[in-house]
Symmetry: C2
Subunit: 139 residues, 2 copies
């Protein structure tokens, strides 16, 4: 992804543009399999060897707060991140650590319709993420 677009994304959210933020945002886009902070640190070290670990965590938190990336929930004790903002779901493998995206507009529509009629009292729905748990054949 080119720098102009990264700068634009940060600017749109009113965030200051810094080389660290650009590198980290790019890393999340580039490492498209829900990278951990460690994956991101390793990736940006190639081009920005002296970015501090603390900075990476702070920047990731800021990017999440500003809605440029999302956190992915896992049943492990570290966080993973996702640069894809459009509605999509996740395949979780019981055998390996792979979390694969599952895009399905028909399913989104189905869920939306279903919950339009079925109101959950006292709760305002913002987003659905279906966790599809199972195993990849290759595992």
């Amino acid at each position: 992804m080119d720098n102009k677009l990264l700068k634009q994304k940060l600017a749109e959210k009113g965030m200051k543009i810094t080389p660290q933020r650009m590198a980290i945002l790019e890393a999340v886009y580039e490492l498209n399999n829900h990278p951990t902070a460690e994956n991101i640190i390793e990736f940006i070290r190639k081009t920005h060897p002296n970015v501090a670990i603390g900075t990476v965590y702070k920047v990731l938190e800021t990017l999440v707060e500003n809605g440029l990336i999302k956190k992915v929930t896992t049943d492990r004790n570290f966080m993973r991140y996702d640069g894809i903002l459009e509605s999509h779901h996740h395949l979780y493998c019981s055998n390996c650590d792979l979390i694969e995206d599952y895009h399905d507009a028909e399913l989104d529509e189905l869920l939306k319709k279903y919950f339009e009629s079925k109101n959950i009292s006292g709760f305002k729905i913002e987003e659905f993420v279906l966790q599809i748990k199972g195993t990849f054949n290759k595992c």
Copy 2:
């Protein structure tokens, strides 16, 4: 929950029955809002003051492995546990840490039917958990 039933559940899985395992399993059932390890430790300390933290983590892992409890994924860096094994979904509040159960047989049926026709190539589905993200009105 009475001891007889707790013993039975452990025995059914071929697990040795120990006071620690019974106390921890009971705690997960009793603390029905997806407790953390810390919540569980605090709870069992009331009746079993000298259960070690390491033991709690080991027992929780064993209970998960034997299918007596489940892990609940969160976007925080600690694990939460769930004693309810039947299919159900979760309401995640963006404002507070509450994760509320959402049982809906009609939805389960809808998803099951949908994915029976729509095969995901290379992936064998075991279970669905819909994460319904939003906010409780009270928040």
